[in-house]
Symmetry: C2
Subunit: 150 residues, 2 copies
């Protein structure tokens, strides 16, 4: 395992004070060391501070309106290796080490497991890595299916 | 140059109808074929339809409140190669071919040219690829500096 990137809460607050939040949120992209984008989430100041001080990704869920640590249910945490900021200080790019079998609660390594075809439909292009029912239990998946329109 | 990924407006509408927009917007990550994340922006339905039907990235600027085609000022357009969607249909990942010298209006290949140190400051870690004043003129850069807090 690679060393966690984390900092003191004073330094974390210093960093956060430089960022531009919109409605209290900033987009956060998590990619792994191979350049695979695993997921896109949002962070509020508090979840970003938690991320920076613990070295584990903490997002803010807009639907559940609460901070959650990635992996809190599944155990599949995301270890922070590097944090980058964009030119306008309003989005963040994290390089993470994904623990466990994958980032996606549907059982894939990446949440971006579907690709658009020119016919206007999305098709699975990634292999399933684990059985999400075993990892998350059936209730969480039910909620997710409601969120999906297809 | 690789073939543009684009579709008919009927198929684009079909695709867009499956997506979940929050306040009319969906986050869009643009990465290149080498796995380098170039930028993160937002799209509204109209800019996404333009992207899908033309094969060139069109974002929605939240500060300027208008659709803009990436490269409209610089000529450094982004050709769409692939479109992926996440598990919850609420974020998009584009693989693009960056035309010209880079994606960032500050003169870098990627907008994520600064990395956080554990001291809580951001440090440039990418090489400058072009002189942004020559490409964009001085006015645009002035506006951007106002947006930055540091």
């Amino acid at each position: 395992m690679t060393k966690l990137f984390k900092m003191s809460s004073g330094n974390a607050r210093k960093l956060v004070s430089k960022l531009v939040f919109k409605n209290g949120l900033i987009p956060a992209v998590a990619k792994n060391n191979s350049g695979k984008v695993l997921m896109v989430g949002f962070m509020n100041r508090k979840s970003l501070l938690k991320t920076l001080t613990t070295g584990y990704m903490h997002y803010y869920s807009r639907s559940r309106r609460r901070i959650w640590m990635k992996g809190e249910e599944s155990g599949f945490k995301q270890r922070v290796l590097e944090v980058r900021v964009n030119c306008e200080n309003n989005s963040l790019l994290f390089t993470v080490e994904q623990e466990g079998l994958g980032a996606c609660h549907m059982g894939y390594e990446t949440c971006f497991y579907r690709k658009a075809s020119i016919r206007g439909v999305f098709k699975k292009v990634e292999e399933k890595k684990f059985n999400p029912k075993r990892v998350y239990g059936p209730s969480r998946l039910k909620t997710s299916k409601k969120l999906l329109k297809e």
